[in-house]
Symmetry: C2
Subunit: 337 residues, 2 copies
Amino acid sequence: MTRLTLESIAELAGVSRSTVSRVVNNHVSVRPEVRERVLAVIEQTGYQPDPAARRLAGQRANIIGLVIAEPAQSLFADPYFPRLIQGITQACNPQDLTLSLFLFHTKEEEANLYPKILHNNLFDGLIIAGMHVDDPLVSQLIENDIPFVTVGRHESPKVNYIDTDNMAGSHTAVTHLIRLGRQRIGHITGHLNNRASLDRQDGYLNALRDRGRAIDPTLIERGDYTEASAYEAMHRLLAKNVDAVFVASDSMALGALRALREANVKVPDDIAIVGFDDLPPATLSVPPLTTVRQPIRRVGILAVETLLDILDNGLEPARRVILPTELVVRETCGGRI
Amino acid sequence: MTRLTLESIAELAGVSRSTVSRVVNNHVSVRPEVRERVLAVIEQTGYQPDPAARRLAGQRANIIGLVIAEPAQSLFADPYFPRLIQGITQACNPQDLTLSLFLFHTKEEEANLYPKILHNNLFDGLIIAGMHVDDPLVSQLIENDIPFVTVGRHESPKVNYIDTDNMAGSHTAVTHLIRLGRQRIGHITGHLNNRASLDRQDGYLNALRDRGRAIDPTLIERGDYTEASAYEAMHRLLAKNVDAVFVASDSMALGALRALREANVKVPDDIAIVGFDDLPPATLSVPPLTTVRQPIRRVGILAVETLLDILDNGLEPARRVILPTELVVRETCGGRI
DNA sequence: ATGAAAGCGCTAACAT
DNA sequence: ATGTTAGCGCTTTCAT
């Protein structure tokens, strides 16, 4: 059986190639009865248009790329990206979009990959996640006129983005700890080359300021979103007599909890912990984690929808979405106010 | 700036389109000096061949698809698939392969997706993971002459696959528990619609038989690779007086551990636990998990290499790879023999 | 409303 | 060794 083409469908339906094309693309000018007939043949043969040919003829390819601008090792230590991918594919499938994944494992690979992404004519648009604050990719994308959406906010007014309210979420979390009477509240940050981490840190700082608390920079320890980094950071904070720690992700909160358990520190009695994400680890930790819920899957879905909107309508000015976050109080913070 | 094509490069280099094509594709018959010149222009302009056009002209598109034949929800609860994806992309990047991801979220989506995958002419080949034992995809792939590799073994002699030695790994794990003197060894299975789960169960059964132990079917509880399912399964096993449980994945072992902790059962003193995977959760659990290590990333890498081999050389007869597994003894089994 | 024909960027015979 | 030419399957004017 030779491959099905427009031509073969046309022949079977007794019409011309163009007519079949019109039917496939839902053009208006085709008689209902003819359309019916063509549709029947397509149904029956299981014909699918060739995306390569389509793309070449100047149409959409119905392929979007997801670039995760973060070395793959750290990437999947956290359920964040898997969850995001879930949201993205969930939005892709009903739209008949195919998702291409661009990951790299070393800086060198990154350097090789970017030009390929920029000049790869194959996909219709791009979603960029895990982006660093100084990432040159965005400006290159703009220069090359490639439609894209970033996951995480971006300064440039031309950039369409979807983000969650990292700043407000952190602010709420830290304010909660203050209200509960905690005096020395530490913070374990994520990678500070990342907008979200900076925003979460700012939320922490602002919450303290807003309540008239002095900032003690030694109470801020850097992590990198791995469990292990937070484990170590927590060990350092232990020496500084904190009675609460706001941790920039759930996975890291687990690391902090592990350090505390080993040090025989009672949570929340001696030290309260609040995480960020509300991913499965949060419910399963011992004790269950108080954390800031962010709608990750929703971010993925909106990223796809926004990209599609750009493709269809140009979308000027840029769409900038910040989704609300929510404090989920469980047991590691020691109180519901 | 108009899009770069073969033609424009040809003009800039003062040669014909075909020559540029030959250079790009590393054909022999082109003078070193000309090749040099063309290469320089390509380098300087950042030209990248259009994959769609390439594909259409009958060449490779350098795109491979990854189908995860498992609803996406359960999929990313476990670090298994992310790790596999890491391996796959790690092998794809140096080969200039782009990876397309096919996931579905409902049975209905699955039904819609399969025909699309089968007739999507865009990719050169497919990697199939998370496949169910009765999955019709494999036979359809064969019928449609689509090159593919499965992650997980398959009966059909035509199928190229990469798998880990689930049976031997489980056998070793259970034998270890027997040697340590455990008398009532239970098993929490994965989805039994999955070859790997069945193999792990068989390894468990065979280990008992080989040591002359009677099989008690009530000591086998079904899980589905989620933490929660194992949590519940462990609760059921608790009523049955087991003194050890072999759990089909690390994530599930975490669930079992949680159930035991809540029931105030001492691990490993009262009940020993052995998991499967040796993914990060295993080291981080309390106590650290004894488990069967399988080289997941390596599986991904080999899957890509095998697919490429099929594409290049046809690969007859089919390549069937079973990678060894290894028991990693930590603290939940209570002894090193 | 439908068909004919050109062309998207590329590869691969076929010439030279 | 290099240039010329004919498609690959599709969309899209342009005719009719």
